[in-house]
């Protein structure tokens, strides 16, 4: 009896515990969530990409209420005040090197951003209120992030893309500030949105001097909400990413390899950032570090392996590090917790590998410092975007010019060509979205397209085009294009001529002589979806960053920012012009008045009487005047000039005194 009772008690206890734990799990599932992740990837040009990914989720308000534990209050209020459906804000310094850092992977498509600030937002408000919401949003964001985002308020700075930018057009607004400088004062408010800020967890690595010393720095904030949908399912998802490209200081490589010059620099987290992670953020649901090895690198490593070690084929088929073998091309200082393989590689010969490190069991006395050591030299190249895009200016002078967009095929499009040979005609769809400020008056009818240097008829290449020409001081010019380029082309270019406009004197920025920026154009390739499908030993991966990579995304890239010099006036000019025209008018008017009240007869008489008494000076003067007039000189009659000249001078003095008195009086009564 006693035994059965104790068993019963035990059962009760177990039941209780299990119910409690399930309750907790359920709460975790439906409540707020925060995850932190860091992706590190060696880049072919001896640099290292580090990509921080923080994600906060909150369930919809109607089921969860408006009090939160983890989700930042500011963002929640922002979403609700302006009824934001989706928003993305990025601060970027430097330009993403599409050639050597890759242009096809998810990070390049979603985190390579144009320099300066880029903001777009979709609002859930009636179309006539979208502009007002946008204006208020820009002001709030500029306060929130200590940046001059409020310059996007003016209707000349933002635009409403018709169809190309996003499928949810209508309520979408897009604007960018290419010249916004990005620094710590923008990062600190961004960090404040994280529950642990930079006090614990992966964000501890963000040592300001090292992250701002990099080659590329882009902090991004992306939020999606379905709060205002009738059936809200997901609530608000806030995704914060920081993408940095750093040059590692080469660690003292232990391997004294003969060709150590060719060896890629080995690095560790402390050598990259100067800091280590002591434990995860206590609020984070998961806290992981990933190291990504690209497919071509894996492929090349296999090759080097085969060459040097003479491995037999079957082992070379294995992923390096799968057995944590020490004689692979590289090794980690810490054994990875899991290895994930790409399953749907575009490259048949290589698939990328993701090594996962959980930092749950590290703490202050045992910090997490991941090291990456190269054993063998290896070279590889990233997967490039289908086309290499660059945009430049043509023409000289301050009057007119042309924008040229040059698209050059990469080895990628060559491979497409091979693949698509059996079809009758292979096309490459390229979408172009370009915003041009109003003072660059683009003549869209001058659009010319050259394929491989040969001019082409527009209708052959352009599938769809929508243009909203700029309106002076009201709206910028927006061009959206769908191009169908033949796959076998080597290069294509698109030119547009423009005239440079004149700005009102108030509209010049303080540093007008520096020139004016044309924001980056967005080039996207809707035919291509970047998607890295990873698989870990038949188990799905619970990682927001990896699932983000697995999402289908259109490959897109940004062009360079163009710097257009405009004529800058001398800013004191208006006053000079006013003064000179007024003086001329006054002279004209005064002489007209004098001419009207002239008495010719009287003057002639006067002259005659004057002739009798002219001084030497007057004699000379009249002689000179007559010479100038080309008339025969008549000796003037002498007049004593002394009295009159004295009278004149006294009159002049009187005039000056009068003016002075008026001026004085003016000042006196005005002041």
């Amino acid at each position: 009896m006693a035994r059965s009772l104790s068993f019963f008690v035990l059962l009760l206890f177990v039941l209780h515990v299990s119910s409690e734990s399930t309750g907790e799990v359920a709460e975790q599932l439906e409540g707020e969530e925060f995850t932190e992740e860091l992706l590190l990837r060696p880049l072919p040009d001896r640099k290292v990409l580090s990509h921080f990914h923080f994600e906060s989720k909150v369930p919809p308000t109607n089921s969860y209420g408006h009090h939160h534990r983890i989700f930042p209050k500011a963002i929640y209020q922002l979403v609700h005040k302006y009824r934001i459906k989706e928003m993305e804000l990025s601060f970027t310094q430097g330009r993403w090197n599409y050639d050597s850092w890759g242009g096809f992977d998810p990070i390049a498509s979603s985190n390579a951003k144009p320099p300066g600030v880029e903001l777009w937002a979709v609002f859930d408000v009636p179309p006539d209120q979208v502009d007002a919401s946008w204006k208020n949003l820009t002001h709030t964001l500029s306060g929130l992030f200590c940046a001059s985002i409020n310059f996007l308020e003016s209707s000349t700075a933002y635009c409403a893309p018709d169809w190309s930018f996003s499928s949810r057009s209508g309520n979408l607004r897009y604007g960018s500030l290419p010249r916004e400088a990005v620094c710590t004062e923008n990062l600190t408010p961004w960090l404040k949105l994280l529950p642990c800020r930079d006090k614990a967890g992966l964000s501890l690595l963000m040592d300001r001097p090292s992250i701002y010393n990099g080659f590329y720095h882009s902090q991004r904030l992306h939020l999606t909400s379905d709060e205002f949908d009738p059936v809200a399912l997901h609530g608000i998802v806030l995704e914060q990413t920081l993408t940095i490209v750093l040059q590692p200081d080469a660690l003292d490589t232990r391997a004294s390899f003969s060709s150590s010059r060719k060896l890629q620099p080995s690095w560790s987290m402390s050598s990259l950032f100067g800091k280590m992670v002591d434990g995860k953020c206590a609020l984070a649901k998961s806290s992981n570090v990933y190291v990504q090895i690209e497919g071509s690198l894996v492929h090349n490593m296999k090759d080097t392996w085969n060459n040097i070690e003479g491995y037999d084929g079957e082992i070379a088929q294995e992923v390096p590090y799968e057995g944590f073998g020490s004689n692979s091309n590289f090794k980690f200082s810490i054994a990875p917790d899991r290895v994930m393989k790409e399953t749907n590689s575009f490259h048949k010969d290589g698939y990328s590998v993701l090594y996962g490190f959980a930092i749950n069991h590290y703490h202050g006395s045992k910090p997490f410092d991941l090291g990456f050591w190269w054993n063998l030299p290896v070279t590889w190249s990233c997967v490039k975007a289908p086309l290499r895009v660059s945009r430049f200016l043509m023409g000289s002078g301050n009057e007119k010019g042309a924008i040229a967009l040059s698209l050059q095929s990469t080895e990628w499009s060559q491979s497409i060509l091979k693949a698509g040979k059996n079809e009758e005609k292979c096309n490459l769809r390229v979408d172009v979205f370009q915003v041009v400020p109003w003072y660059i008056k683009v003549y869209y009818h001058t659009t010319k397209i050259f394929v491989d240097g040969m001019p082409q008829a527009l209708e052959d290449i352009i599938e769809k085009m929508s243009v909203s020409p700029s309106e002076d001081k009201v709206s910028p010019g927006v061009m959206e294009l769908i191009l169908r380029l033949p796959c076998d082309m080597k290069s294509a270019s698109l030119t547009l001529e423009f005239d440079k406009g004149f700005l009102h004197i108030d509209e010049y920025p303080p540093d007008a002589n520096q020139g004016f920026d044309i924001p980056s154009a967005i080039i996207s390739y809707p035919d291509f979806q970047t998607r890295l499908q990873y698989k870990e030993d038949n188990a799905s991966i619970q990682s927001p960053m990896v699932s983000k990579m697995q999402e289908r995304r259109t490959v897109l890239s940004y062009t360079e920012v163009l710097l257009v010099p405009l004529t800058t006036p001398d800013f004191s000019m208006p006053y000079n012009v006013i003064t000179i025209t007024c003086t001329v008018f006054a002279l004209y008017f005064g002489s007209l008045l004098n001419a009207l009240r002239r008495r010719v007869n009287e003057e002639e008489r006067l002259l005659k009487s004057k002739d009798k008494r002219t001084g030497k000076l007057q004699l000379l003067l009249s002689k000179f005047l007559s010479k100038v007039r080309g008339k025969p000189w008549e000796p003037p009659s002498s007049t004593p000039p002394s009295s009159s000249s004295k009278f004149i001078s006294s009159k002049v003095i009187l005039k000056i005194l009068l003016v002075a008195a008026i001026a004085f009086g003016w000042r006196y009564y005005d002041g």
């Binding site: 209420g65 408006h66 009090h67 939160h68 534990r69 983890i70 930042p72 209050k73 500011a74 209020q77 922002l78 609700h80 005040k81 709030t140 929130l144 404040k192 529950p195 642990c196 800020r197 006090k199 614990a200 434990g279 953020c281 206590a282 609020l283 069991h361 703490h363 006053y575 006013i578 003064t579 007024c582 003086t583 008018f585 006054a586 002279l587 008017f589 005064g590 008045l593 004098n594 009207l596 009240r597 008495r599 007869n601 009287e602 003057e603 008489r605 006067l606 009487s609 004057k610 009159s644 009278f647 004149i648 009159k651 005039k655 009068l658 003016v659 008026i662 003016w666 005005d670």
Partner: protein
């Protein structure tokens, strides 16, 4: 030109004149006389130009005029004068019910002049505290005498106050002394919902001292043996003035300018749960329930005074910035009152302003501080060495802080994984009781349950809404008064600013806001004079926020008005030389015309002589 006019007189006259002259008279001198009438052509011409310029001047000024919406300067001045000279007075009505159950004659005879006694004492008290929002002298007292079977009403002015005769005769007063709440509700049912402050004095004739209780509505009662009528009158007078009129405030407590209400009449109560170090433990709370159950009634009650919204957040990694030391006696970490200015760590506690609130709203931060494990039982030591019961403090106009010590501090000191806990609802209720008291203190009200006056101590019953009705009345009166003062000064500054900058653009919107603000101010005064406290508080809030809106209108801030110097620089190159030409021409032509007409007159005279 100068030479011409000057030499005219000295030189010979025109030849045709000479000819006539020679033929006419012998004594014709062409220096001083002429035969023809002087011509008006050039004079008219120059005058036309001159006058057309004069006429064009207003047109020019009109064209460069800056749009200024006409502001009602006179109304603004009269408003600020009215506020300065006579702060508006609320009519207060008091009612004393004297229930005399002891039928001794001495009390009875004195009771008749109780009303006069009370008003004389009240005058005395009212002199001592007269600040904005009281009914300084503007009150009526009515007295009802109830001796069980017969009732006498001594009423000053008001017939509306009625006392149900003998309503209290059936009650057992020993019980009511014990249970104040029930008696309070019973009195409310008798007195009804009027804006009259009632004090019920029950002379039971038993006991040796009076027991004074202030209810949560608009009445109080005094029960016990009334020995002397003068003392009773003084007590009642003090109750009326100090408690009902002034809201039982402490001397030197928070006055109008420290009222925690934003310029737009809004308050945001921001509740923050700060986990000093989440590596030790992470506390969570159920603020949603608190918001719905505890805060909602209070916020509704405070509705007329301010528009209050609630928001919350939980922050982590927020250490305090002051020091604490371990005290063996109390077995806890101690921080003293002199550390309080440094307790709030403005670097790490990013409490933040609210995006949801407007720019001029007031944000009151209420902070629950959960200390980290190495400072765990953290207690506040009062200056007298005691440990604070509430373990919290307030900072006027900023908010309040409460330190919440997790139970079993040492339990999780060295664990790898942080403890995830929820503050239990009982603990949350305790914390929010402290917060409620802090909110009352921030509004300048007493947080203790009794009032110690000159003539004895009164017990103040607390309302479940946090604020009793008479407190709300007092707050409404003070806020209305303070808001109106602020409105007056803001509008006065605006009118001074506008008048001092004659070239500032004033948009129509500002004029409209000023007009509406003045209307709201007038409405406030009307409501106040009728004794509708809450309505006057609401309209005064409107008046103030509109005045502030007008003053801080973005167009006022802009630099689009340019100085007079600028205009001088732009127009003087044209008008200065031109006006010299025109004026000199006019002067000369007039001079010459006069001279010539004098000459002609002289000749005329000579000719007349000759003809004569």
């Amino acid at each position: 030109m100068a030479e011409i006019s000057e030499t005219m007189g000295t030189e010979s006259s025109p030849p045709e004149e000479n000819r006539k002259d020679n033929s006419g008279s012998s004594n014709f001198d062409d220096k001083i006389m002429r035969k023809t009438k002087p011509g008006l052509k050039r004079l008219i011409l120059t005058l036309t130009v001159f006058f057309s310029f004069l006429l064009g001047l207003p047109w020019l000024l009109k064209s460069i005029e800056i749009y200024r919406s006409p502001l009602p300067f006179r109304d603004i001045d009269s408003l600020s004068n009215a506020i300065d000279s006579n702060p508006f007075l609320y009519p207060c009505r008091f009612h004393l019910v004297f229930v005399n159950l002891e039928h001794s004659t001495s009390i009875r005879s004195n009771a008749e002049n109780l009303g006069f006694l009370i008003s004389s004492y009240m005058l005395e008290y009212a002199d001592r505290n007269s600040f904005c929002g009281t009914c300084d002298g503007n009150y009526t007292i009515s007295v009802s005498l109830d001796s069980g079977d017969e009732c006498v009403e001594y009423e000053d002015a008001d017939k509306g106050i009625l006392w149900k005769c003998g309503a209290l005769s059936g009650l057992n007063f020993d019980q009511t002394v014990e249970n104040g709440e029930v008696f309070d509700d019973y009195l409310q049912s008798i007195v009804g919902k009027s804006r009259v402050y009632t004090v019920v004095v029950v002379n039971t004739g038993k006991g040796d001292r009076l027991r004074a209780v202030v209810g949560k509505y608009r009445h109080a009662w005094i029960i016990g043996r009334v020995a002397e009528i003068n003392l009773l009158a003084e007590t009642v007078a003090e109750m009326f003035i100090k408690i009902f009129v002034s809201g039982a405030k402490d001397e030197g407590s928070i006055q109008g300018e420290f009222m925690p209400v934003g310029a737009d009449g809004k308050i945001v109560l921001s509740f923050n749960l700060l986990n000093a170090d989440p590596r030790d433990w992470i506390y969570d709370w159920d603020i949603k329930e608190v918001d719905e159950k505890l805060l909602a009634p209070t916020l509704e009650a405070l509705g007329p005074i301010a528009n209050i919204s609630v928001e919350s957040q939980v922050l982590y990694h927020t250490p305090k910035s002051s020091y604490s030391y371990w005290d063996d006696e109390h077995e806890s970490h101690i921080f003293s009152t002199k550390d309080l200015p440094f307790f709030v760590n403005s670097n790490e506690w990013h409490l933040d302003t609210s995006i949801a609130a407007g720019g001029r709203s007031k944000i009151l931060q209420f902070v629950v501080y959960v200390p980290s494990a190495n400072e765990c039982p953290l207690r506040l030591q009062l200056p007298n060495g005691d440990i604070s019961v509430t373990n919290g403090f307030i900072s006027p106009t900023w908010g309040g802080v409460v330190v919440f010590n997790p139970p079993n501090c040492m339990e999780n000191a060295n664990s790898m994984h942080p403890l995830r806990r929820k503050i239990s609802s009982q603990e949350v209720n305790q914390i929010f009781e402290v917060f409620m008291a802090q909110l009352r203190q921030l509004f300048g009200l007493k947080s203790t349950g009794f009032y110690k006056g000159a003539s004895g101590t009164s017990i103040l019953l607390a309302s479940e809404r946090g604020f009793t009705e008479w407190e709300l009345d007092a707050l409404a009166r003070q806020h209305a008064c303070y808001n109106l003062q602020q409105c007056g000064t803001t509008l006065g500054s605006l009118s001074r600013l506008v008048q001092s900058l004659p070239r500032m653009i004033i948009k129509d919107e500002i004029g409209k806001q000023v007009k509406l603000s003045l209307e709201a101010a007038k409405l406030t005064q009307d409501n106040a004079s009728q004794g509708i406290y809450d309505a006057s508080a609401v309209s005064s809030r409107h008046a103030r926020s509109l005045a502030e809106d007008a003053f801080f209108h973005p167009s006022v801030m802009s630099i689009s008005y340019y100085s007079f110097d600028h205009m001088f620089a732009v127009y003087s190159p044209f008008f200065l030389p031109l006006s010299l030409h025109v004026i000199l021409a006019v002067v000369r032509e007039i001079k010459r015309y006069k001279q010539e007409s004098r000459k002609y007159a002289a000749w005329e005279a000579i000719r007349k002589q000759h003809s004569d």
